[in-house]
């Protein structure tokens, strides 16, 4: 299994500002993903964080709004830029190791409120 540390666990931010969320894994992993989960809803994939190259974004999500970094196999960041109240949600980091098991491990999540 993988142990994931996601920070911050929660934040309240002013509209128009940006927040960077960090995801640190205790071992090297093949795949890292970022999800959004709005209250009472399912998980929606934002993007796949690719090590050493640009992230792969899903339909409806763009790099200017959600820039992602992945400098190595154990760390990634997601920035929520120019925030509006509609960005209030839980953001989750997830990892998988395709060469061993395919289950996804999740960080504790970041509960973001934009006021």
């Amino acid at each position: 299994s993988a142990v994931i540390s996601q920070k911050p666990s929660r934040d309240i931010c002013q509209r128009g500002t940006s927040l960077t969320i960090q995801c640190q894994v205790d071992s090297q992993v093949t795949m890292m993903f970022w999800y959004r989960q709005q209250p009472g809803q399912s998980l929606t994939l934002i993007a796949t964080a690719n090590q050493g190259s640009e992230a792969t974004y899903e339909s409806g999500f763009v790099i200017d709004k959600f820039p992602i970094s992945r400098p190595n196999l154990t760390f990634s960041t997601l920035t929520v830029s120019n925030m509006s109240p509609e960005d209030s949600s839980i953001y989750l980091c997830s990892v998988e190791n395709l060469d061993r098991v395919t289950e996804a491990f999740f960080g504790q999540g970041t509960r973001l409120t934009v006021v």
Binding site: L45, T48, E96, L98, A104
Partner: protein, 111 residues
């Protein structure tokens, strides 16, 4: 794009009653996974099914993958208050790495 629907959306049961959630994908899946998310928590992996018609059991939980690999079910026998949470199915299609989550079923268990 791929859609994964679950029914029911909510289920309230008395402790000791059985519970079933059904998962249906718009496309054929290479595998189906099930996750449990407790209130305020993050999704936790329960099981993965890969083969057509596969059935797996974990104590009171029984998981099934349909013959066409487009649907799945999770059945809990004799629910307990510790079963409370939202159950998500999630699947991958077309050999890709993207995991698409179902809409989820929220289970509440009353004494």
């Amino acid at each position: 794009g791929q859609q994964v629907m679950q029914i029911p959306q909510y289920q309230h049961v008395q402790e000791g009653e059985d519970f079933t959630t059904y998962c249906n994908s718009s496309t054929t899946l290479s595998n189906i996974q099930w996750y449990k998310q407790r209130p305020g928590g993050h999704p936790v992996f329960l099981i993965q099914l890969v083969k057509s018609g596969e059935v797996k059991k974990q104590k009171r939980l029984t998981f099934q993958f349909g013959e066409a690999k487009k649907n799945s079910s999770l059945h809990i026998t004799a629910t307990q208050t510790t079963d409370v949470g939202t159950y998500f199915c999630a699947g991958k299609a077309g050999g890709g790495n993207k995991l698409t989550f179902g809409t989820g079923t929220q289970l509440k268990v009353e004494l």
